[in-house]
Amino acid sequence: MAESLPKTPMLDELEKGGWPSFVKEIKLAAKKSPMAVDLLGLLERSYKEKIGHWKHGGIVGVMGYGGGVIGRYNDLPEVYPNISHFHTIRVNQPAGWFYKSDALRSICDIWEKRGSSLTNMHGSTGDIILLGTRTEQLEPIFAELSKVDFDLGGSGSDVRTPSCCCGMARCEWACYDTMRTCYDFTMKFQDELHRPAFPYKFKFKFSGCPNDCVASIARADMSIIGTWRDSIQMDKAAVTEYAKNGMDIQSEVVDNCPAKCMDWDGKELHIENSYCRRCMHCINVMPKALRPGKDRGATILLGSKAPIVEGALLSSVLIPFIKMEPPYKELTDIIDRIWELWCEEGKNRERVGEFIQRVGLGNFLEAIEVDPVPEMVAHPRENPYVFYEEYFEAGDEGSEEEEK
């Protein structure tokens, strides 16, 4: 039985309201875990003093691995001895976050025995986050997790735990098998996941369609987003049915199309598919009438990140369309070339998107041997002072010799 709870008037405020409360959960855990008791005390103190009391980083990990454990110590170990070590463990989640209940019980049993019993299901990385344990518990935890077929995830300058939407398991819009691809990539890049060898982190996220439910375009260095390259499938009778049931197709669908590629004459919907930007809006609004095309694959985008060293970036197109079928040779070859270049030329803590901005997309593409295509243009050129010297030859109109 854990000791009595400290007084936490400020934290108690966070238990009020009709939503889940992490304070409530920590208090629940504190009935059994002395670590949770001290955590409440330290957190209340931080709120009062407006000072964080955690020291982060350092040497902790398991033998042979460079990721998966995030070292934390508090700077008041005499006052809060039960959380003098409070390391976080990232556990690689199953693709699509599907578990059998006995798998969840196994993780919780290990964590109640060897950690604080507090978890975060799931962290923004996608991993199962186990919050708070001591250094001497790390190897036993790793061994016990391995016995029940779980592995650690990524942290530091490595491939972070790949994550994906639930894809074909539950979603009719999935244009490729995200769960399989996520699993295959996780297995292929085990070395890069566990042994940090990059200038900084590298994230893969797999979305089955342009709705991008895992927000890969904003969060992954390489965003792999399902798409199609033929025409949107349309059931004309179902479109009519929507109109008959009161949907204003002009204002709700046609006027919201970013490409203005649709036309509604009051009876029939026409789509100029060559202008379609695959935004999914029309399909989301009329799911019974419209579906993605039949020739499906993915668009590969590169370079997004949250603001850490530099500002936030969204991914931009690298490969407009690629079939996502094992063994993904074409894509993994490009990934190898990107990593080789980035490792060679990237600065410490420079994400691949920042690297591309620094060296320029043209130079980057040339180095990774990918031809530029119009889909890569993120926005129109802003600088009018561009010289196309390489296209001019002596004697051409406008060349220097002519001007003389």
Binding site: G58, I59, G61, H85, R195, F198, E340, N348
Partner: protein, 81 residues
């Protein structure tokens, strides 16, 4: 003649040891140094294997200080032992 994993691991270990207290080295720093030192006698896979060897033997450890580094095992200042 191509170098062996053990030879590269030894050379990397020396680099890490010499840099201790002065500079934290990343895996890429070690790989670049080996390529510079031994030229065609090493390749990146060999360097990867050498780093793996250093880690599995416990001669070096990964550390995190805003990025991942390779260092000699030590008692870190932040640890509340």
């Amino acid at each position: 003649m191509a170098k062996t994993v053990a030879e590269i691991a030894d050379a990397m270990y020396k680099l890490v040891k010499d840099a201790t207290g002065q500079k934290k080295l990343k895996a890429t720093d070690l790989t670049k140094a080996m390529v510079e030192l031994y030229g065609d006698e090493v390749d990146k896979q060999l360097c990867k294997d050498a780093i793996k060897e250093l880690m599995n033997s416990g001669k070096c450890v990964y550390t995190y200080f805003g990025g991942s580094f390779i260092e000699l095992p030590h008692r870190e200042g932040a640890a509340n032992d």
